[in-house]
């Protein structure tokens, strides 16, 4: 087990007290930031904005493992959607996609453990993990081909998937390493 994955003392897929509390904190933060929703407009798009808090999701997955990542994304998005007034289950494929992104980000440290020898390597790996997790995880929004049959493949691809992976990848690539570097000294201080 690598150092960044030390949030799970009993194995990658165990649901320990630590996993529960970290996931609850992650999901609550994700929901609160969703509620505050201060998107940063992207000049080349009218409808798309960068949501800085997306990086929280990939950070929680990367730092505390795939279970925390999935729960942070899935529960955080469900609760956040309800807080904003969108409705908890109105866009459930998106909640699932957020969860999948967190899960993939959490798998990365397991695969890349040997490469994460120092803080810089860890930060770079976190950025890569955030981008890959976004590209892979958000493939699940294509479930809407079944649940929203008014949208064809091209509409989901051009209207949803491509814009969202661009803006979320930007957020993940910047925010995830910042949080990893900020968390690392505290983690050592706490002896985790």
């Amino acid at each position: 087990m690598n150092s960044m994955n030390s949030g799970q003392s009993d194995g990658t897929w165990s649901i320990t007290t630590r996993v529960i509390v970290y996931a609850a904190i992650g999901a609550a933060l994700y929901a609160v930031f969703n509620y505050i929703s201060f998107g940063i407009a992207v000049p080349w798009s009218n409808a798309v904005s960068v949501r800085p808090h997306y990086g929280l999701l990939t950070f929680f997955g990367f730092a505390f493992g795939p279970v925390v990542g999935f729960l942070t994304g899935f529960v955080g998005n469900v609760v956040g959607d309800q807080l904003t007034g969108w409705g908890a289950f109105t866009s459930w494929p998106w909640s699932l996609a957020n969860g999948a992104a967190g899960l993939v980000a959490g798998l990365f440290p397991l695969w890349m453990a040997r490469r994460m020898t120092d803080g810089t390597n860890r930060a770079v790996t976190a950025a890569v993990a955030g981008v890959v997790a976004t590209v892979v995880g958000f493939l699940l929004i294509f479930i809407e081909l079944v649940t929203q049959q008014e949208m064809g493949f091209n509409a989901i691809l051009s209207e949803e998937y491509i814009p969202v992976i661009i803006v979320n990848s930007i957020a993940a690539a910047i925010v995830t390493p910042i949080l990893v570097l900020a968390w690392e000294p505290l983690r050592e201080q706490l002896g985790r």
Partner: protein, 281 residues
């Protein structure tokens, strides 16, 4: 900053139901309504969904902004979708469309089929929201975890969801305090200028302390739970839930609706409906 789920439906007929009813109803309803395409059927379903919503007696004034936001976003989203597809999707795939208006400069078409699809999409989203809202406002605080547990979700996940809802007001308050503290140090959270990446990095003084501080604070919660032996043995819940006859009838009604929707879907009885007045115009 007020971020929480106020118990707005307190005392209503729906709030007196077993909280499992509200969760099951929403899950069954979402599964059913995604199988329907005909806007006439979806309009009836929306009316039924709103009738269910009304039994939660959620004050309109309190949730009005949320409904306006929801309807505005889904209408814009569905309209944009109809422009992209041109109405050539779903039941209307491969058929000649009735173009009503062609928009410059790219010749984007607004068709009768596109608007018909848009209506189906808006009705479906609104119906799902109507049945989903009471989960947030008509389930008593503290009942969500036990309801999830009694539905078969593991103890730990049920506790995790309960904790998430409980953490929200605290974290929202911490967020507000952090912004105030950074303002005192000269930070301007509303500063504009620079590209998206520069502005994203400018958010670090807010994100980092709130996130790292919350994780550090979580250690106290973890220690408290461990000291109380959380997860060591079989967990019990002090709150007893009673699934009464009325609860069973409500769930049965939703399951019957799911059966009907599945039948309509499989038998081809729910195709997208082309609004006739758009074609004849």
């Amino acid at each position: 900053m007020r971020a929480a789920f106020p118990y707005l439906g307190r005392g209503s007929w729906l709030s007196r139901r077993d909280p499992r009813v509200l969760l099951l109803a929403a899950l069954v309803f979402v599964t059913a309504v995604t199988q329907l395409r005909d806007s006439r059927q979806l309009a009836i379903v929306l009316a039924l969904g709103l009738a269910y919503y009304a039994t939660a007696r959620i004050p309109w004034r309190t949730v009005r902004p949320q409904w306006i936001y929801l309807l505005a976003v889904i209408s814009f989203f569905a309209f944009f979708n109809s422009l992209i597809t041109g109405g050539r999707t779903g039941t209307f795939s491969g058929v000649a469309t009735h173009v009503l208006v062609t928009l410059p400069p790219f010749g984007t078409e607004i068709s009768a089929e596109g608007l018909s699809l848009m209506l189906s999409q808006v009705l479906r989203y609104a119906a799902i929201a109507a049945v989903g809202f009471p989960i947030a406002y008509a389930v008593a605080p503290g009942d969500l975890g036990v309801a999830l547990r009694r539905l078969g979700v593991g103890d730990r996940i049920a506790v995790m969801v309960e904790l998430t809802v409980r953490f929200i007001p605290t974290l929202a308050a911490e967020f507000g305090e952090t912004i105030d503290a950074q303002r005192v140090r000269g930070y301007n959270p509303t500063a504009r200028g620079g590209g998206p990446i520069t502005r994203l990095r400018r958010m670090a003084p807010i994100f980092v302390p709130v996130t790292v501080g919350s994780i550090a604070g979580a250690e106290d919660t973890i220690d408290a739970m461990d000291l109380r032996g959380f997860g060591v043995g079989r967990r019990t819940w002090s709150r007893e839930l009673r699934f009464g006859t009325v609860d069973r009838l409500v769930v049965a009604a939703f399951v019957a609706f799911l059966g009907l929707a599945t039948f309509l879907n499989l038998s081809g009885g729910s195709q997208h409906y082309l609004l006739p007045f758009l074609v004849s115009a």
